[in-house]
């Protein structure tokens, strides 16, 4: 008797892609059900951390809109953390635990696997972002002044597409890396918060500083969102919302295409150099 049921239907193309995304996100969702401590560490504690920055502004007498800037920035950090820790550096753990080689052997697309990781972690990410937005707004009396709802949706969607494209692109590099991957992820936290103006209007980094920071889609997304939902937003914005939308479209296209090519190229390179199964303790 066969131990494994024979595969009756062979999947390929889009169906295989979708199945892979589902297959990789499933254990993450189940894992979150089994281990509930993330609710405390991933949602409640970050809310405290964001509050600390709010009180800094209160302590130095900043205009009230800055409190809102921190709340929105704090909510957006959740997405960056999801990319950094649940997607890119997860490949390091997959390599360490022997799953990476299995992913490569299978006919599944690496992009689908990464997307599955991201979507699997998205539940916690969304919950964290929403909790920070709702509780932050209620606790600190943040008042919003939405200029254009449709532009807001467009900006958020484009930011996410570009951001996850960038995440997949950077994840490809993790195929080559070993323990340094962990350190690089760790390094990409505070410096990215600084460059993307997570807690202050990015315009204050100067034109070139802001332009450099804009390579991270979060920067433009956050800047545009602040312009669209706060009264003082437009006066503190880096570029006009229209230019930021166009820039995000360009970044989305570049990052997604680059991710596909880089993943394929670096996968081959990692195979050639024998990095996929290496375990440099």
């Amino acid at each position: 008797m066969a131990l494994v049921e024979p595969i009756s239907k062979k999947r390929s193309g889009l169906k295989l892609f979708i199945m892979t995304v589902f297959g990789r996100s499933y254990p993450r969702l189940v894992g979150m059900q089994r281990e509930r401590s993330w609710i405390f560490f991933d949602i409640f504690v970050p809310l405290l951390s964001v509050s600390a920055y709010v009180f800094v502004y209160r302590a130095i007498g900043a205009p009230e809109d800055y409190v809102g800037f921190v709340v929105v920035g704090g909510a957006m950090t959740a997405f960056w953390m999801n990319i950094l820790w649940n997607m890119s550096s997860q490949l390091y753990w997959e390599k360490e635990q022997g799953n990476l080689a299995l992913y490569i052997i299978s006919p599944a697309s690496m992009m689908a696997i990464l997307l599955g990781m991201a979507l699997g972690g998205l539940f916690a990410t969304l919950l964290r972002a929403i909790a920070i937005m709702i509780f932050g707004s209620l606790i600190f009396n943040v008042s919003y002044y939405v200029v254009s709802f449709w532009q807001l949706i467009a900006i958020f969607s484009l930011s996410m597409i570009a951001l996850y494209g960038l995440g997949m692109m950077s994840a490809s590099i993790f195929l080559l890396l070993s323990r340094e991957a962990w350190h690089i992820s760790n390094l990409a936290t505070e410096p990215v918060y600084l460059l993307s103006g997570m807690y202050f209007p990015v315009k204050n980094l100067g034109f070139w500083g802001s332009a450099f920071g804009s390579l991270i889609p979060l920067t433009l997304g956050l800047d545009a969102i602040r312009q669209l939902i706060f009264k003082s937003g437009p006066s503190l914005g880096f570029l006009s919302v229209k230019i930021e939308i166009i820039s995000l479209i360009i970044l989305s296209i570049i990052y997604l295409i680059a991710a596909k090519f880089l993943l394929a190229h670096i996968e081959k390179l990692a195979m050639r150099e024998g990095r996929l199964t290496e375990n440099r303790r």
Binding site: P27, R28, V30, G31, M32, R34, E35, S37, W38, F41, D42, F44, V45, P46, L48, S49, S51, A52, Y53, F55, V56, Y57, R58, A59, I60, G61, A62, P63, Y66, M81, W85, N86, S89, Q90, W93, E94, E96, Q97, N99, G121, S178, R179, E180, H183, N186, L187, T189, E190, P191, Y193, L194, M198, Y199, F200, P201, N204, L205, R281
Partner: protein, 284 residues
């Protein structure tokens, strides 16, 4: 003394921790890595402050905020250094069960593994302080510093943080590997309550008692007083307390935190053994 299991556990773990922490790259990259993160972290606060105050770095509030943030870097460093060892040994190196069956004092082994992070954390603190003293007009007069108070406070604080790290290590023993450092997350949460970057008076009245109950609050105040006594006294939070009072309160709160930490670690340790979690791998 050299044959003492506790001492050997601590020294061997410190050496092992340092090797693990530092041998993943060349010294130059390691130094760069150790500099960028703390400076970026300080940079966020400096920019926030300078936007609102129009770069008024002479205001005592800036020194308060800057020094508090600089020394607070010890908190995630020590908490993560000790608690992450559980994940590192359990799921990465898969050696935790071998450590448990070896003649090793587990809490002292964990403290030892935290030493490397303490050293890199010290490097980050020094770099941040130097940047503040040299470029941001944070006042510092070598002769005005109360060095005795500084050294005593620093040592007491690190011991207190190590005990809090043990508490987190206990919790880590019975939880899954999350994608982040639990020590960093907890430290970022405590940032709110400890008066690290703003005086406790800024917090709503009902939150302040949490700050007063935490030893970290007194530790940071003592460090500020030892380095820039005049500035620390311009904030009303602890004006009624002398340095000795603060040290006594720090000792008392650390003792209570330490007892809770040891009790919880033992409880979690027992639970992890009972539930077979010592060699669990939780990759999801």
């Amino acid at each position: 003394m050299r044959n003492s299991i506790s001492l050997r556990s601590f020294i061997s773990a410190s050496w092992l921790g340092w090797k693990i922490e530092s041998n993943w790259t060349d010294p130059f990259l390691f130094a760069t890595y150790s500099i960028i993160k703390p400076l970026a972290s300080a940079g966020i606060l400096v920019i926030m402050y300078s936007i609102v105050t129009d770069q008024n770095f002479n205001n005592p509030m800036f020194a308060y905020l800057y020094l508090g943030n600089a020394f607070y870097q010890y908190v995630p460093a020590v908490l993560s250094g000790i608690s992450w060892t559980i994940i590192d040994d359990r799921e990465h190196y898969r050696t935790l069960k071998y450590i448990y069956i070896a003649p090793v004092n587990i809490p002292l082994y964990l403290f030892g593994r935290g030493v490397a992070k303490f050293l890199t954390g010290s490097f980050a603190v020094i770099i941040t302080l130097l940047a503040g003293f040299l470029f941001l007009k944070v006042p510092f007069d070598f002769q005005q510093v109360n060095w005795l108070l500084f050294v005593v406070s620093l040592i007491l604080g690190i011991l207190m943080l190590a005990l809090l790290g043990l508490l987190l290590a206990g919790i880590t023993l019975i939880t899954a590997r999350h994608s982040y450092y639990i020590g960093d997350v907890v430290a970022s949460g405590l940032f709110l309550f400890t008066g690290a970057i703003f005086p406790l008076e800024v917090l709503p009245v009902w939150i302040r008692p949490i700050g007063y109950a935490l030893p970290i609050t007194y530790w940071l105040e003592l460090l500020r007083r030892s380095l820039v006594g005049n500035i620390a006294k311009t904030f009303p939070t602890f004006t009624s307390m002398s340095n000795l009072d603060l040290i006594l309160v720090l000792l008392l709160t650390s003792l209570i935190a330490g007892l809770i930490a040891i009790f919880l670690f033992n409880k979690c340790n027992h639970s992890a053994r009972e539930r077979g979690l010592i060699d669990v791998a939780t990759n999801y």
